[in-house]
């Protein structure tokens, strides 16, 4: 548990470096920043979903002494997410809406004032006239008036994945299962909303932007491009960030506005702290999808073919820089999950509507696609009289199938699904849960059901493993700089970012082990584009694999330099030197010869002792790219009690087994899994962003948008199948997998308990009750 200060910290749950400041109230979040002459920003947001802007009058607000910016101020700046996909319709997102607004909550103006209270006062005095247009809220209803003129049918992209002979396969199938499934729009909702502080130094034409972002280097480059500044003159700092989950992996118009306004007010730091109402309205949403699913099986439950039509509501804008393709393409690429499948057709499309833009959210599309896929097995099992576990066993990719080329042509390198499933069934004691289910059935007691989901999580995507929308950049690598200072302690400038994942800790563990110093001797600096060379940031469960790999490679490079120098000083052969706990010894000798600190002192301060040909300093910078990805296998199983009178579910037990590869910090790994399952349960049972037909968000506060609390989330049992991946650290990403199971598990459990197919999420009491009621009426 505690961090003993020795080399070999990898694999142990050392004390997190972040925790001391966070538990004492000394975290450094963007909103905590206080700078001289700071002014505060409030955004005025559209109260309507779709309208032409016919008038803007700021005179009354300006008369009170505040500064007001509107669409006209920055009309020449537009965020345009790009993709090389042939069907992609490129559209632009303005900094402030001008001409027309496309969703309720879109920023139309900003007020800068002495404090946030006065900024909000100022917003009330800005008058915007709207001429309403018919809004589109549902992505599978034709628009009366398109969101963007460039896409008259609102379709921003469409792609069909095909493999094998789908029509012939269905024609010859013993059983064809068909279901139309709709998943509920919800969002990441980190506890810290978005935030930014921007300040412009006019003399040097330099911008500093503190931003609660997952992707500071991407933000730096995009801001520089949009503001026509040299990249080196833009510094983005992501200090402590209070959760991200994908929501903060997007560059938002508010971010750009803040920087543009700062340039217009030189030397005045501008702070914006998003409030929760703004967050619910205008931070990215996700998971508003419809899956029209057909699955063909043979008589013994072997999956033969899938024919799917997937529509994703991508909201009003194609998010920058990920595009409107992020959800539909992920759905099409990974729909078949960890199952063998030869005949596959999936048409996926991203459709614009007058709702908040959809963006990346932990698990991107797969909580929905896993639900859709698992629903096919649940229905087929019921039709064929097979056990839900048995039908999955017959179809899952096994180790001997690996590498398995999925019908979407992604290559699965895992195959450990059955092993995860077996362990999960052991942990939940499957036979006794089934026995209890039978006992209750016989006794007429509250029914219980068992839900099962298997999934593959594609993590740590290298340059060759693109599941994304062919953007003008590939996110395959990260950089790391490791410096042994003259005192022998180590400072790491890593390209990773952290929103709670504990990367300061993990990177320190990797570097400490990589060099041979103690964990306590390593400090890690992250989130500052002026300090670290490069990192794409936190998304796609990539950082442990890629940022971790970079840290490992760099630490090894620095160790090589260290030992070269030490070898010269000791007049020994490099090959005979070992470094452990900050001390360098010669193989075969009992006592170390020299400390890392003594060698480091020579490297910087005693150049007269430097051996011939050795440069001063002890530093290296390396990149790492895993080229492919590392699939992480997972299985979740739960036993759920249903109250027939209210439709309420009680989760009696929830088990998850994942193959995270080698666990570098077991507590952090389990924390990622538990946290992602909790978000998955939230999405499956409670969280729903609901728009009315006029495009107004009906769930605009946390009184209506129901995030689960400690009273709703059950005790979870987390197990591991640790199969080292083929990368230097043997790790697989672990940040997202947990979210993939709960939709399928909980809907499946209701199916198992009651024989009711839940086709629309969330699995709310009313949904279950209505289905039960309909079942009773039919009976």
């Amino acid at each position: 548990m505690s961090g003993e200060p020795t080399t070999g910290s990898l694999g142990r749950s050392v004390r997190r470096k972040e925790d001391q400041r966070l538990v004492t109230g000394h975290g450094r979040f963007v909103t905590d920043l206080e700078l001289p002459r700071m002014r505060h920003v409030a955004f005025l947001r559209s109260p309507v979903a779709h309208a032409r802007i016919t008038g803007v009058d700021t005179s009354e607000a300006v008369g009170t002494g505040v500064r007001v910016f509107t669409g006209a101020d920055f009309a020449d700046v537009e965020l345009r997410a790009q993709s090389a996909l042939p069907s992609y319709v490129e559209t632009g997102q303005p900094v402030f809406a001008h001409g027309k607004v496309r969703f309720a909550g879109e920023p139309v103006a900003a007020v800068v004032a002495a404090d946030r209270y006065r900024a909000e006062d100022g917003c009330e005095l800005v008058e915007i006239d709207y001429d309403p247009l018919p809004p589109t809220v549902c992505a599978w209803e034709p628009p009366e008036e398109p969101v963007h003129a460039e896409a008259p049918d609102n379709v921003l992209l469409e792609r069909t994945f095909t493999a094998g002979e789908v029509d012939e396969t269905f024609a010859g199938a013993a059983v064809v299962v068909e279901r139309d499934l709709v998943t509920n729009r919800h969002s990441g909702n980190p506890m810290e909303c978005r935030a930014g502080v921007a300040v412009w130094d006019a003399a040097d034409r330099r911008l500093t932007f503190w931003n609660g972002t997952q992707v500071p280097h991407i933000v730096r480059n995009m801001i520089a491009e949009l503001m026509d500044l040299p990249e080196g003159n833009v510094r983005v700092i992501a200090p402590d960030v209070g959760g991200g989950f994908g929501v903060k992996a997007v560059l938002y118009p508010e971010d750009v506005a803040l920087c543009l306004m700062a340039r217009a007010m030189p030397g005045v730091p501008l702070k914006w702290t998003e409030d929760r109402a703004e967050h619910l309205l205008a931070a990215t949403h996700a998971r508003d999808h419809r899956y029209r699913m057909r699955a063909a099986f043979d008589g013994d439950g072997t999956l033969l073919g899938i024919d799917a039509d997937v529509t994703c509501n991508v909201g009003a804008y194609s998010v920058y820089p990920w595009t409107a393709g992020i959800e539909p393409l992920m759905a099409g690429g990974l729909l078949s999950g960890p199952y063998r499948l030869a005949h596959y057709r999936a048409t996926v499309r991203g459709v614009a509507t007058n709702t908040a833009p959809s963006g990346p959210y932990r698990g991107v599309a797969r909580p929905a696609s896993v639900y859709a896929m698992e629903a096919m097995f649940d229905s087929a099992a019921a039709r064929l009289g097979l056990d839900a576990v048995e039908i999955r066993r017959r179809n899952v990719i096994m180790p001997e199938d690996v590498p398995y080329k999925m019908p979407s042509r992604l290559v699965d390198d895992s195959g450990h699904y059955a092993e995860c499933l077996d362990k999960a069934l052991d942990l939940i004691d499957y036979p006794s849960v089934r026995a209890e289910q039978e006992r209750r059935r016989a006794a007429g007691e509250a029914p219980i059901g068992i839900g099962v989901a298997l999934y593959n999580e594609l993590t740590g995507l290298g340059r060759a493993a693109s599941a994304g929308p062919r953007m003008p950049f590939r996110t395959g690598h990260d950089a790391c700089t490791v410096r042994i200072n003259a005192d022998g302690r180590v400072t790491v400038f890593s390209g990773v970012t952290s929103q709670g994942q504990g990367l300061e800790t993990t990177v320190a563990q990797i570097v400490a082990d990589g060099i041979g110093v103690t964990y306590d001797d390593v400090d890690v600096r992250i989130g500052d584009t002026d300090a670290s060379l490069w990192g794409f940031g936190a998304f796609s469960s990539r950082q442990a694999v890629i940022g971790g790999g970079a840290a490992h490679r760099t630490a090894q490079a620095v160790q090589a330099k260290l030992l070269d120098l030490a070898a010269g000083l000791l007049e020994a052969s490099v090959d005979d030197l070992r470094v452990v706990d900050g001390r360098i010894s010669v193989v075969g000798e009992a006592e170390p010869r020299i400390s890392v600190a003594e060698v480091a002192r020579v490297a910087y301060l005693e150049s007269h002792r430097l051996p011939e040909g050795i440069e001063p300093g002890l530093e290296a910078t390396r990149f790492y790219d895993p080229i492919r990805g590392a699939f992480a296998a997972g299985a979740q199983v739960a036993a759920v009690e249903v109250d027939r009178t209210t439709g309420e579910l009680t989760i009696l037990s929830y088990v998850c087994v994942e193959d995270a590869g080698r666990a570098m910090h077991p507590q952090i790994v389990d924390g990622q899994i538990a946290g992602s399952i909790a978000q998955g349960i939230g999405g499956a049972l409670y969280e729903h962003l609901v728009y009315d037909t006029d495009g107004n968000l009906s769930t605009g506060t946390l009184l209506d948008y129901l995030m689960p609390t400690s009273a709703e989330i059950p005790e979870m049992v987390i197990g591991h199948v640790s199969r080292p991946a083929a990368n230097p650290l043997g790790v697989r990403g672990v940040g997202e997998g947990g979210t993939l199971g709960p939709n399928a598990v909980l809907a499946g459990a209701v199916h198992d308990a009651l024989g009711i197919e839940i086709d629309t999420l969330p699995v709310s009491p009313s949904r279950v009750w209505e289905a039960l009621h309909a079942q009773e009426v039919r009976a």
């Binding site: 400041r21 975290g27 905590d32 959760g243 389990d670 924390g671 946390l702 009184l703």
Partner: protein, 157 residues
């Protein structure tokens, strides 16, 4: 308006508009940024502080209402020597935090819980902590931490 209060045992004074919340006064006027704002409408619990010993949402109190009151924030949990409060130590040991944004409110709620429910079991902890939302941990580490801190306290040294 002038507001005199005692914060973490020390006298404090702020001059604020009546509409300024206690949370904003603590954070912006007194520089105690450990108290976080997650929703500003009383649901998430991130801003929970102790007012005269009882937990309260600092976003739902105006600073002027705290005139004469004793307020304890997360910055006041450590003892005079700077040692961590047993709850802080337990949150670290049991991975009761990830991003740390909800943590100050969690700690203040838990501090009151341990005072009022000695020996609370996991079910009680889950029910009593339900006014504080965490988005990272899935609550497992938080419940572990509060349970462990409670057990440690109930066990005579």
């Amino acid at each position: 308006m002038d507001v005199h209060l005692i914060v973490n045992g020390e006298r404090a004074h702020v001059d604020v508009e009546p509409r300024r919340t206690l949370a904003d006064a603590l954070r912006e006027d007194l520089g105690l940024t450990g108290t976080h704002l997650g929703c500003e409408h009383g649901v998430c619990g991130a801003c929970t502080v102790l007012v005269d010993g009882a937990p309260a949402r600092a976003c739902l109190m105006f600073a002027v209402q705290a005139d004469g009151a004793e307020v304890t924030t997360v910055e006041g949990l450590q003892d005079g020597d700077g040692a961590l409060h047993p709850l802080q130590e337990a949150f670290v040991a049991h991975h009761g935090l990830q991003c740390g944004f909800c943590t100050p409110g969690m700690l203040m709620t838990a501090a009151h819980l341990l005072d009022t429910h000695p020996g609370a079991d996991r079910e009680t902890i889950r029910a009593e902590m339900a006014g504080n939302i965490c988005r990272c941990t899935g609550y497992q580490g938080i419940v572990d931490a509060v349970e462990a801190a409670g057990n440690a306290r109930d066990t005579p040294a």
